[in-house]
């Protein structure tokens, strides 16, 4: 292992992480809801008039973020997405992520940020599991294939 100093962005990544923590903490303190993208989407699969509005407005804010970022943030603070995966890999990955996050009851936000912040052992196990296969998968596609 060697560190990729060229792409290492400790300051903007920490800053971005702090914003994620603020949003997650504030959503729970204000609305009593866990900020988990998988869980928020899941609730919309069976919509109800009482439960759906907060999910929809939260998602609208999330979807508005690239436009707002373009208007208010300096361009060098934003990372353009580099996607190595081909179309077939993108589709397989999407299916695995959709099925897997529902099966495991959460993703990087619900288990990763909120779960670890709540000191949940269950979420720690989930986080170690998906990070584990994440490491293995990237090793396979970048170094074995």
């Amino acid at each position: 292992m060697h560190i990729d100093w060229l792409h290492f962005t400790p300051v903007s990544s920490l800053l971005g992480g702090i914003l994620l923590g603020i949003a997650a903490g504030a959503l729970f303190l204000n609305s009593g809801r866990i900020l988990g993208i998988t869980g928020i989407l899941e609730g919309l699969l069976t919509p109800t008039p009482e439960d759906s509005p907060w999910r929809l407005t939260f998602l609208l804010g999330l979807l508005a973020s690239p436009l707002v970022a373009k208007l208010i943030l300096p361009a060098d603070l934003l990372h353009a997405p580099h996607i190595d995966a081909n179309w077939a890999m993108v589709i397989v990955a999407g299916l695995l992520v959709g099925f897997g996050t529902r099966w495991g009851g959460g993703c990087t936000s619900g288990h990763g940020i909120c779960g670890l912040s709540r000191l949940s052992v269950r979420s720690l196990v989930a986080t170690l599991s998906f990070m584990g296969t994440g490491f293995v998968t990237v090793f396979v596609i970048r170094h074995l294939l």
Binding site: P10, G16, N30, P81, L96, S117
Partner: protein, 138 residues
């Protein structure tokens, strides 16, 4: 008013993802690539998020009701079971394969990226498929 707050928190979360580098699959895979040139940045994303989150959830633990008056929806399930582990292992495979997890995929889709759009559609199909399987099992 609540709708405005939720919108702003979704926006804050999205901006956090954009600034942190989570919306760049290449950066995510750079973090997951321990054997290559390793980019530790995402550890700082997680570190910053959890550090602030500890504070927020710590305050919530001492409160009975949320600021909006709604009850706190503390997750009730605590057991570590097969679905948790197998589902998370499966999620990690997809995460590593394309470098997208659900939140960043939605944000990148909204920025007009066609591969992120296809990823999100496949992800929604995966979620619905899971529900079908679950219904059949019950």
């Amino acid at each position: 008013m609540q709708r405005v707050i939720e919108f702003l928190l979704g926006l804050t979360f999205g901006l956090g993802l954009l600034i942190s580098g989570m919306t760049d699959p290449g950066k995510v895979q750079g973090f997951l690539d321990l054997a290559g040139a390793w980019d530790p940045s995402l550890a700082f994303v997680m570190g910053g998020g959890v550090l602030v989150g500890l504070l927020g959830f710590g305050v919530a633990k001492k409160k009975i009701i949320s600021f909006s008056g709604a009850l706190f929806h503390w997750p009730k399930v605590t057991q570590i079971d097969r679905p948790l582990v197998l589902g998370s292992l499966m999620f990690g495979m997809g995460w590593g394969l394309a470098g997208f997890c659900p939140g960043p995929a939605l944000v990148t889709m909204a920025s007009g990226n066609d591969k992120a759009l296809v990823f999100v559609l496949a992800m929604l199909v995966g979620m619905v498929l899971f529900d079908r399987f679950k219904k059949r099992d019950n």
